[in-house]
């Protein structure tokens, strides 16, 4: 790749105007919640600096994050990021294959030690010595450990690379683990989501290229600019939630009017992500805007913890797959009510047939009699 050509020149060659480039820098500053003046700083950083090398590793994945990164209808964010960095290895899009491809990766690890960036997609199997995912005869664990430990920074994209995602969902036969779990102690930023939003990933890369450090992270290792707020608090249907106007069934009046999807199992109230502001598909829409509830795809272990996706609460374990918490609760209440009623009837019947000491009042019983067993 032509590492000497400046980003702006490359963009021009690809038909991306300077105006479009500046627009991108502005978008990045806004996504990172930086003041407007920083778009100039970002533009300078992207045009002056030498193109850093980037390698993209795929393990137990569906290539969904790659798709999210490269599939666009018009040249925007993704193209600029693609042009800003020198992509040396990416199985899905690179031309080379076999030994040559692996040699390219090895060359980066050897020659660019401590300078290159790694993007990891997919979880890493740990069961049975990691045999469930091997590339060129090497296990995912082996590759990830070597490549990530030599990198300047690692970006784990998608739910799988973050906390194991779908492969780690019960019963997890391959012992899948997220990257920070499988390869601890590396300089890592996690961009969970199923898939990641390429705008956020571009913003992390831009932040790193501009400031030389990774953005501020939360307790789960996710950048605060993208995962710092509840979806619920940024949702355009929030007013309907507070007002108490809910979709009751798919396609009903409320659904047609764009009411809140809370009763349809929307997990917006328990999910942190910036979907409502950054949106998808060229910032045109996002799931809730298009009429479907959030499934909390950027939340920890969401396949296990946030399902069923169309109900508010998980189903309690051990009662069969379709028994809800409400059914169990009401059954308990009804059971206790029935037992209580039966006990009351028992008292009436007992006192009717066995009136006890005369009229059964406390008058005739002394304390001593009262507190000795009266087996009947």
């Amino acid at each position: 790749m032509a590492a000497e050509e400046s980003v702006l020149e490359t963009c021009k060659r690809r038909g991306i105007s300077r105006r479009r480039f500046m627009e991108f820098c502005g978008t990045m500053a806004a996504t990172l919640a930086l003041p407007k003046a920083y778009s100039q700083t970002i533009a300078e950083a992207l045009t002056q600096k030498r193109k850093p090398v980037l390698v993209w590793l795929e393990f137990q994945d569906c290539a969904g994050n790659t798709e999210s990164m490269i599939r666009t209808t018009h040249p925007t964010v993704e193209d600029i990021v693609l042009e800003t960095l020198s992509w040396e290895y990416h199985e899905t899009i690179m031309a080379g294959y076999g030994k040559h491809a692996e040699a390219a990766l090895e060359r980066v690890v050897r020659e660019e030690k401590g300078k290159y960036l790694v993007v990891v997609e997919g979880s890493i199997p740990t069961a049975d010595d990691g045999v469930y995912c091997t590339i060129g005869g090497r296990t995912a664990m082996d590759i990830a450990s070597k490549v990530c430990r030599g990198a300047a920074a690692t970006i784990a994209v998608g739910a799988c690379a973050w906390d194991g995602g779908l492969p780690k969902a019960g019963p997890n036969p391959t012992g899948a683990a997220g990257l920070h779990e499988a390869v601890p102690g590396i300089n890592i930023v996690n961009l969970p989501g199923c898939p990641h939003n390429s705008v956020n990933t571009a913003a992390v890369l831009v932040h790193y290229l501009t400031f030389g450090v990774l953005p501020a992270l939360d307790g789960e290792g996710r950048p605060l600019f993208a995962y710092g707020q509840l979806i619920h608090d940024q949702c355009e249907r929030r007013a309907h939630y507070d007002a108490g106007r809910y979709v009751q069934a798919w396609g009903d009046e409320g659904h047609r009017k764009g009411w809140c999807l809370y009763k349809m199992g929307c997990k917006g109230p328990e999910a942190n992500y910036n979907c409502p502001t950054v949106r998808w598909n060229g910032a045109t829409s996002w799931p809730v805007k298009s009429g479907h509830g959030c499934i909390a795809c950027a939340s920890p272990r969401f396949w296990d913890t946030k399902s069923p996706f169309y109900e508010r609460l998980p189903h309690p374990a051990g009662f069969g797959v379709d028994v809800t918490a409400g059914q169990i609760g009401w059954t308990v209440v009804a059971g206790v009510a029935a037992a209580t009623a039966a006990h009351a009837v028992g008292h009436v019947v007992r006192d009717h047939f066995h009136p006890g000491n005369g009229d059964g009042s406390a008058l005739e019983t002394t304390l001593a009699e009262k507190q000795t067993t009266e087996v009947r």
Binding site: G219, E220, L230, H232, D233, Y241, D242, A243, G244, R245, Y246, Q248, G254, Y262, K263, P269, E270, P300, R301, T305, K306, R312, L313, P314, P316, A325, G326, I328, G329, W330, V332, V333, G335, V336, A337, T340, H343, A344, G346, H347, R350, G356, N357, G360, S361, A362, L363, T365, L367, E369, K370, Q371, T373, E374, V375, R376
Partner: protein
Amino acid sequence: MVSIVNPFVPRRHVAEGQEHLVPVYVWELPVRLAHWGIVAAVTVLTWTGLYLNHPFLIFPHKTAWTMGTVRFIHELAGFELIGALIVRFYWFFAGNHWARWRQFLPLTRRRWESLKAMVRYYTFQQRKPFEQIGHNTLAGLTYIIVYFMIACECVSGLVLFEAVEGSPVLKFFVGWIPPIIDIQWIRLVHFLFMFFLMAFFIHHVYSAVLVAITERNAEMESVFSGYKFVTDETIDEELEIAALEPRQLFGKRRIHRNRTWDR
């Protein structure tokens, strides 16, 4: 013995023919306040909680603020419940003999007898319940579970509140919980315990009415007035046990018996 002047004392509440029973000031004001505080809070929290889980009222007007209002009431009632629980927990250590934490456990032989007798009573093997001034042991053990569930409701409620409120103070106290137990499981526990408390409510009211009817000893009135009516023998036995107990954490032992009651 100290006599307490209390305007709420139920002078006429002892039934005809029960005049031999002696009033004892059992439930001190903080106990009764905590009790009714918990009743009020749990009632409000249950209704609003059912709505929060499954909003059953839909007002399609533009000016409606149903969920916002219900959530606000739920949160207020939640903090009221926490307050009532703190009062009661404090009184486990500062209250009179019958409010202390020991009263909830079968720590004495008499309390073991009480446990066995109450099981026999509820299973129709014994006609009269065990006469006890404070809680009977079976009730005490039940209340331990109930207090545990209410405490869990308070903590899980604070976790859920913290998730929307983002308060650094709350985060300091309960922020460590969601990384260990996912927020959805916390929500599930919060929801299920509501039903268990509803079930307890049914059982609790029934048992209190049952004992009040059987014993005709103003059991139901005691939670308003604080006074229970018991026999002299029971008082003597309980005072004997109270004298044997280790010194309590704060305050003096406060056991009031009014023998010169205007019957």
